[in-house]
Symmetry: D2
């Protein structure tokens, strides 16, 4: 393992490499192998990107065919046959069955860019400035999305005031049970000092923020309030969407009707970058051509792999399996909590995003280190990194899942012994 090149020439800002101190050389499904031949089970999936595993074989084949056929890899937002396949297939597999007529908007291939575009559109459509965002929310690093991101560890780097956001506690945060009702009353009061908002920007499941799961009831309360005050509902489903929770969208089956949905991460299937917003037509009509432009908006490789990814959602078996595996993850975490009473630990999640809140960032970091040493990749999240989040590829084999959970349990034990 030779990391001197990175140490000499890469920016001090590099982060994950410090948690996983090795040089990875190849990967397949839920396994990553470093250049010394050591194999790791991947419970992190590239921060929730690799829902269909590393180097998904069906996607590999499609990509190689596409490259060999001189497909259009980079198209801005010109029309290509590849993009048409993606748009058409997405409509067929995702939108049509749900009776959704949202339009697909492509932008620079980062979740942050998707959120920025959604914020612009909401502000334009309503003529209002402020967007309601929630404590523990994570929406990106660019100035617009960073203003919506709650974590001070990121916010402090802006160098300028982050404005035009009204912050409310998330359902599961202190005050979250009453915040919406109080905000409703305040908006009705002409002396509250508050502006009518353009939109509510919510992650139905806050992933980076610590795997905080909003209830159906609370999401409806948000939506009702938004409708009441003339604001839009934007669901940021960037990490929790694309099958992660056992349904395509994290909020499927709740009877919700968001105006804008932001997607990225897993949408390109293969780790190939893409971002896409779904805008209701009457909202989308506020855009003018080219209003939010960008270079990599027509990523051919992402469209190709993304079409393969959509195939997974054409029958129930895939999501049934995700839910079943999610249940196994959860059960194991619950057992771990039960084996460690008095620690105040909590298990949270839905489908294959499950988490153990240890309430202690230093402890979680130690668990992560022990796990790495034992051959398991996990990523802490939440305030101070105290939450151990498990987001393996949805396609992880049973054996790797079990082995990974065994390694996790051992790592937790080791970290506990080290206290």
């Amino acid at each position: 393992m030779d990391t001197t090149v990175f140490e000499a020439h890469e920016s001090e800002i590099r982060g994950y490499c410090r948690n996983y101190p090795t040089v990875f050389a190849s990967a397949s499904n839920a396994r990553q192998v470093d250049e010394d031949g050591r194999s790791f089970i991947d419970f992190f999936a590239g921060a929730g990107v690799l829902n269909f595993g590393h180097n998904n074989p069906r996607m590999k084949e499609a990509l190689i065919d596409f490259i060999q056929a001189d497909g259009i890899t980079h198209s801005l937002d010109t029309y290509t046959t590849t993009k048409r396949d993606f748009v058409s297939r997405f409509h067929e597999v995702v939108l049509a069955p749900r009776g959704m007529d949202h339009r697909m908007q492509f932008m620079g291939p980062t979740g942050s860019n998707a959120v920025e575009a959604a914020m612009k559109l909401a502000r334009k459509a309503t003529g209002r400035r402020q967007i309601v965002a929630f404590s523990h929310g994570f929406h990106g690093m660019t100035l617009g999305s960073l203003a919506a991101t709650a974590n001070d560890a990121f916010r402090q780097w802006s160098g300028v005031p982050l404005e035009n956001i009204h912050r409310l506690p998330f359902e599961t945060a202190p005050g979250g049970d009453t915040a919406l009702a109080e905000y409703r009353e305040a908006l009705a009061d002409p002396s509250s000092g508050l502006l009518a908002p353009a939109a509510f920007l919510i992650e139905p499941i806050q992933a980076e923020g610590g795997v905080n799961v909003a209830s159906k009831e609370w999401l409806h309360e948000v939506q009702d309030l938004a409708r009441e005050v003339g604001a839009l509902v934007i669901f940021d489903d960037i990490q929790a969407g694309i099958g992660r929770t056992g349904s395509y969208f994290s909020f499927d089956g709740m009877g919700l009707d968001p105006d804008i949905i932001t997607l990225a991460k897993g949408l390109g299937g293969f780790g190939t970058p893409i971002a896409m917003n779904l805008n209701k037509p009457e909202i989308d009509d506020h855009w003018s051509p080219g209003a939010h432009t960008g270079t990599f908006r027509g990523p051919g490789l992402s469209f190709v792999a993304g079409v393969v990814a959509l195939d997974y959602f054409t029958d129930d078996s895939f999501l049934d399996d995700v839910r079943a595996k999610g249940e196994r993850l959860r059960e194991r975490l619950v057992k771990i909590v039960e084996a460690n009473p008095d620690r105040g630990w909590e298990v949270r999640g839905r489908g294959m995003i499950q988490a153990l809140d240890t309430g202690d960032g230093a402890f979680a970091k130690r668990v992560q280190k022990e796990a790495f040493d034992a051959g398991l990749l996990i990523g802490p999240c939440g305030s101070g990194g105290r939450v151990i989040k498990l987001i393996p590829p949805l396609t992880i084999p049973e054996g790797d899942l079990t082995e990974g959970l065994d390694l996790l349990e051992q790592a937790i034990d080791a970290a506990t012994r080290a206290l």
Copy 2:
């Protein structure tokens, strides 16, 4: 050609597809072919991304090998052998020969994100808020970079005030000859009402802004002023870098010494998304790990193709050829101007970014349409789209270059006749 899928399901915001009303199916070097088999010469290169042509054969081979070998496509900022190759090779080919010790920072793969990161770093390193940006500058669409972007057609979509930028005219804009001297005096005056800036953010060649070329002298004046007032120099070389002007950086050979350089577009070689900043070590040291995070910061495919792209710069022949072709582009445009005296047209550019400023957006649009109909792809830029920018792949064959220029000349004639 069937575009109904797009019309039904894609956002109203789609733009370039309106200029090029067809569905592209494949592409090779400087040719794009639509699904009806019609071949177009590409003088636009995906907005300056495809410097090495569509589907560059050396890159295709490298990408297919990589995919077949289960290389790491998506790695966040963990270490991979592929990333090490890229970092090492970039240092060897670009930095070392120039005596540069800048560090490479990877972020979400958009130029906008690169600019946002550079702005954060400059603000952090100086403890100041305001960044000097220039009229006609284009730096991206997210709130931070959009504040630096000058074009009102983009700015008006922010929905919130765009702050923390001090705007100066670019060298070639009205007042550009005296602006720096006046700004220097104002900064020295405690009653000027101006803040000391964190940085000067400059495109040495403004591409989207109308192919405005800064002189060596002016860039030195900017750099000198920045040093004098304790501000950083950020060169945004996203469109004009990576060989486009006949040298690797657009400002090579001028004796300049920027603190931060933003790169994206052509860096990934194949149209594969990537963005990278080069930060001087003493500036870069202000970052903490993970301060500006993001998902698609470790794009394996871009690293692989990017390494192949770097090979083009290992001897002089490639850039010699770029300069020679650039000269042909320029000569032809000069001839066109000479054939149309009294129009006030102007030719601007360097290397293989050359432009004809027609002073008339409607006329340029007509030229673009006539060119498309004749089989040539070009993209207007500048205020109101009045500048016809020619940025073919640097690898364009002689024959295509000549044919493209012939088609352009015919399109201009046709548009002139239609006046």
Copy 3:
């Protein structure tokens, strides 16, 4: 009565004159007489300025002596004997008995200016930006103080975003019971998205906001929280201070210890403009000479009358009388409420600021009109003007107080009949 001059030459913005459609010619204690000789009982006292009555005879004499002696009417912040008398007397009568060592800061003679100065000082002293202000708060019309003012009827006129304020509900507003506790938890949470505040800016009794009276317990909770998070406590006692509530400060006797107190309105005694902040020495030390300058900071006439005003507080009889009259005001309002059950009316206040919340702005306006027609001046306040506020001069004779209350009761009856 001739108002044509006003209608022809005064701005459309004029307001109170529309409520009181006559031309006043003279005034004495709690009586104003218009140019037609009609006498009005004044329950408004110039919006709480004339605590010692119109043309207080002791002040008249002092002012005339001062003018005849060529005293210094206008001194900026140079030292004058007159100012020394005021400073010395204020210390002796107000500060010393309370063990307060706050320093007196003079600024442009408006409450708004006092608040702006307090906000600057708090931001400087803490190095923080955000100031917590409360729903229904009124702090002034200039951009800094207006940002803290809650009423949208005023805020909408800013023409620019009003920033750098964190808004919480006042104790008596919806959510006011839990807001401080939730805010404490949020500030302790690094992912709340909230900044640590520079100060809490509170009116212990919100006058313009509808005579909302904070409890001692809540004010302590604010103060405790401020101490805990390193923020200052600023009490805006501009309307409720200077004896209005039956004590010099509205928060006397509660064991509170504000860092900054803003005063204006009644401080000059005679309606002569003045504003003054009281800053704790360790906070005040953050000022540099001339940091917040202004022209009318040394108002000789206000100092002279202000010294006379201070005499009222040298024994207990004056404030005893204020409390007794306040009790009469209150009892009468309670009787009115009891005579009108089913209306949901509420009586609020302390000392001689008492109010009837009718819950209905149109009704309160009608009452005000009926009262005016009958010879009583009152001023509605609160959201939509629904609260009838009674703030007669503290020196009002018993007879006028009784007669005024009779007129009020009749006006309420008349307005009720008109429903």
Copy 4:
């Protein structure tokens, strides 16, 4: 002289008292006398307030009569006979002869408040945010007006970003000759990155900024540009108006036509606080009643003395005298400059605001100190306090004027010797 009370109990922010270390006891016309009986000639006039001298005898009499007659000292913006006299007289003496139909708006009695109101109105009337303000401009200390103030010594105290101002160099500042032309071009350029402004806020003579005198031509250029781009012209005549320059307004006789004029300082005549804007009717119509409220908007004493002040402008003799005395001030300063060649000193001013720019703040401070010690009050201004500004009462007797100039010359000599 006893200043211990101030040192013990007044804020550290006190400023002028440090320049004039004595305690003043009385004053008459251009003389101030301290408590030890020492008489000072006043060339500062309370920062330009006391145009009609300290304790103007005609005003004294009127004020005493008014107080004895129980006039309305404090009226908010209700109608009073006193206010009607003022409004009527101001129209008759100032507006009507100039054919002006501006409406008078009263607000909190500070110049800062006048500027804040003007900015609000301009923003409301145009629906735009940015206001053009000039280098070296001084417009007040509250957040809105402070944003327009150029001097960093004041701006640094805001504690928050000062936004929504576009800064241009004043005519006499570096770049001032070309700035308007360049700004015009920039506004016409959709890629300049600049917003269309709501207004141009200009002091025709910058007093605090260093007595910088705009030419008629430049002011017309400002006005023309404003008209061209749909912006308002706001003249801040707070210090230079009310006769100071030898005409009522500082810009009289230039054929200018401002939309809003801000007045304060000398308007109340006696040092009695007042502020007033003059708004063109079609602009003023954008106000709603009570939109910019405030307590001390109806200052009876200021109206009374202000009416007397207006009498000075009913025939030519007063202003003839002002111009003659101004000429004497100027000649003497010119002589001083000529006696000190090689110092690079400059004389600037108009009428009885004349200044010597010494280019050296420390030197000017020494001159001020020497002058004080010799019995003359002067006030440095401009960047770093390098400009000695002479603004005696317009009513100063010849003898005091001559004696004051003698003292000034001696002080300059003394300061020169001390170099």
